[in-house]
């Protein structure tokens, strides 16, 4: 080996915060090359991809609608990730939240009560937490790996939603098609800006990010979770109850995912469908890491991820770019971030001794 990889004695603090920016810039440069290879003018392509989608009020509304479940779930997951509790199950927790919330929207379909929306959000949160309590229980009692349990429960939850929408929760007047009735107005989040789809739920997501920030940065439990993530044994010696932290870590993810599920069905969807999420639960994992598990960073990275989704559509419409470009950008972003993180913790060095022998 001419090049030797060795750990850095002290990873740079500054670079840890800069690495998402570096990754984003490298992603853009790679995008430039890809656009040129596709025979598109890179300046036009950039405009179509990153400016066009948000050049009017409607577009900004769409960006926030798309980003809000990502930032909400990303913050919830970050609480657990800080303590090295790996909840991969937000997609399933979101689906269960949607089932719980949607059920109440359907049974109160004829009512105009103001209580319906708060009730939906509350039971959606409970649903997400219930689903997350399964891996928490298995982890604390049997020490079952939460990565596997949460991941597998995603499939169960998504199929459970499909089953209910094909059966008991199906619209009886819908010719047997698998979807529920359209929710009544009382079960729909009010639109805030006329002419957009920007709804009240976006502010709930903002509130969730702020609450997450207070919890992680200011509370003692948040501090305990950070310590447990860095050194679990040290945390135990210090008297922190690790089992309690497991419960908190998983339930917070379930809580935010459950609420996000209700915000989707009571927001832009307006009914229960066999699938209520285009993979927000998984994308939120990327969002949490790109945001450095910090609510402020998660807020920004959720906006970036949302813009990549919208840009993909706009690129198709304006420049006939293939729809796969969105996936390529997301992959590039994560790839460069992981590479940057690697270089923060390790350095590469030319192997001098070998050279001297030669």
């Amino acid at each position: 080996m001419v090049v030797k990889i060795e750990p850095r004695p002290e990873p740079s603090k500054v670079m840890q915060y800069l690495s998402p920016l570096i990754a984003a810039v490298l992603m853009l440069i790679s995008g430039l090359i890809i656009f040129s290879l596709l025979g598109k003018n890179p300046a036009e392509a950039f405009h179509a991809f990153f400016v066009e989608p948000v050049n009017d009020l409607y577009g900004i509304g769409e960006l926030l609608i798309k980003a809000s479940p990502l930032m909400l779930i990303g913050t919830g997951l970050a609480v657990g990730f800080r303590a090295s509790i790996w909840n991969i199950g937000a997609e399933g927790q979101l689906a269960v939240g949607a089932i719980f919330g949607g059920y109440f929207a359907i049974i109160f379909n004829d009512s105009n009560g103001l209580f319906i929306l708060p009730l939906m959000i509350a039971v959606g949160a409970v649903g997400g937490m219930l689903w997350a309590s399964i891996p928490a229980l298995l982890k604390t009692v049997f020490n079952a790996n939460e990565i596997l349990v949460t991941l597998m429960l995603n499939y169960v939850a998504v199929l459970l939603l499909a089953l209910l929408v094909h059966g008991p929760l199906r619209d009886p007047n819908g010719y047997g098609f698998p979807q529920s009735v359209l929710f009544g107005d009382a079960a729909i989040l009010p639109v805030l800006v006329e002419g957009t789809r920007l709804h009240l739920g976006v502010f709930l997501a903002f509130g969730g990010v702020i609450a997450g920030w207070v919890f992680l940065q200011k509370s003692f439990t948040g501090y305990q979770m950070r310590v447990a993530g860095l050194a679990q044994k040290a945390a135990t010696y210090a008297g922190f109850k690790y089992k309690k932290l497991i419960w908190i870590g998983l339930l917070t993810g379930g809580l935010t995912a459950g609420i996000a599920g209700v915000l989707e069905i009571a927001g832009p969807i307006g009914q229960l469908l066999p699938s209520v999420s285009p993979g927000y639960g998984y994308a939120a994992i990327i969002v949490a890491f790109v945001g450095r598990l910090h609510p402020g960073g998660i807020f920004l990275s959720s906006l970036l991820m949302a813009l990549l989704y919208l840009g993909g559509e706009s690129g198709q419409m304006n420049l006939d770019l293939p729809s796969a470009v969105t996936g390529i950008f997301q992959g590039l972003l994560l790839f460069y971030l992981l590479a940057a993180d690697f270089l923060i913790h390790y350095r590469m060095r030319l192997n001098r001794s070998r050279l001297e022998v030669n």
């Binding site: 409607y58 769409e62 047997g176 066999p274 198709q316 796969a324």
Partner: protein, 361 residues
């Protein structure tokens, strides 16, 4: 200096106006038509057939139309945004080609009262929203005849997506077609709960073959069932597209959808200002359903029988759902001398005699 600057500015403004005028002039001449696709176009399947229709329309109408498609658009909130963006960008006629686009299409219609929308496979219409669908079951009935004649085990395998009336109707029509030439036919169904999942479709096909099925058909989108049949040495009847190149030996024929004429007619109607929202349900007679070329292994008398039946469907003497038809319990659901109405067909929720298993609830 100041005057010079002003001059430059006014020249610029004039140029802009001219550019704007010429833009609106050319836009007024051409009808801009948008298509929203559920999956990438690929080289076979549901979206591929819609795109063939789009290209045929472009060819027929030449420079009177300009088209644009957005592929891989998930059903739900994304669909509403894409449809809205098309409407906002000056597309006056928009085809939305998946069932789950129904409510998003209606929502966008409310925001753009001057735009025209055509939604495929749905049941809700509005002042500016029409629907269109093919009588897929007519093609199914014909391919059922081929399957019924070619099977030796008398067991046919059916890979199905979701238990909705459209799919159940297809299973029943296929079964009735096969039973019309071979009363001992049994049809086994495996539900994969996905419109497009090559892995699951392959597993389902393998399971059906292992259970004795020697002709496989599918109401899903991929080429996996045909590929699997080719590998295992049984026959396949494809759906949506001619998939013969994926199974030269296995592929007997396919029930394919043809949208070119419908798209051309609809665009012409919008150009002529005669468009109205309708619920179009067109079949073999209107050229919306065709069979792919028959594999040479299909005997000439079977080809002739299929052709005779096809003509019968066109002139109305044959209806796939012609009584007497019994359901699985042996109860008569369509009496002799009667045929099912469109409304009954659209809400079909039971299996006919000959289909094994139960519809998942």
């Amino acid at each position: 200096m100041a005057i010079g600057r002003k001059n430059v500015l006014s020249v610029f403004v004039v140029l802009l106006c001219v550019a704007g005028l010429s833009l609106t002039a050319s836009a007024a001449d051409k009808l801009k038509i948008g298509f929203v696709y559920i999956s990438p176009i690929g080289d076979a399947g549901w979206t591929y057939q819609h795109d063939l229709g789009r290209l045929a329309m472009e060819k027929n109408l030449g420079d009177k139309v300009e088209t644009k498609y957005i592929e891989n658009v998930p059903e739900g909130p994304e669909a509403e945004r894409v449809i809205r963006d098309l409407a906002k960008s000056g597309y006056d006629l928009i085809f939305t080609t998946s069932f789950g686009y129904m409510n998003p299409t209606l929502k966008v219609d409310k925001m753009f009262p001057k735009k025209r929308f055509e939604h495929s496979t749905g049941y809700k219409t509005a002042k500016n929203v029409g629907t269109y669908m093919c009588r897929f079951y007519e093609g199914r009935y014909l391919t059922g005849i081929v399957a019924g004649k070619m099977t030796e085990s008398n067991t046919l395998g059916y890979v199905a997506a979701f238990p909705i009336p459209e799919v159940i109707r297809g299973i029943n029509a296929f079964t009735l077609g096969a039973k019309s030439v071979n009363p001992d036919i049994k049809v086994k169904v495996i539900w994969v709960n996905s419109w497009f999942d090559p892995g699951k479709e392959r597993e389902a096909s393998e399971a059906l073959i292992a259970q004795g099925a020697d002709v496989i058909t599918h109401h899903t989108d991929s080429t996996a069932p045909t590929l699997t049949a080719e590998e295992k040495g049984v026959y396949a009847i494809a759906y949506h597209s001619d998939m013969s190149k994926y199974g030269p030996k296995a592929h007997l024929t396919a029930a394919t959808h043809v949208y070119g004429d419908f798209y051309t007619r609809t665009a012409q109607a919008v150009l002529d200002n005669t468009w109205k929202p309708e619920q179009v349900w067109s079949g073999i007679k209107e050229g919306s359903i065709e069979l792919a070329p028959m594999n040479p292994v299909v005997p000439a008398d079977v080809v002739a029988l299929v052709e005779k039946t096809r003509k019968g469907i066109i002139d109305g003497s044959v209806h796939p759902f012609q009584g007497p038809i019994k359901d699985q319990s042996g109860k008569i659901v369509v009496e002799a001398g009667k045929t099912l109405s469109d409304k009954e067909l659209l809400g079909m929720g039971y299996y006919v005699e000959g289909v094994l298993g139960k519809i998942p609830k």
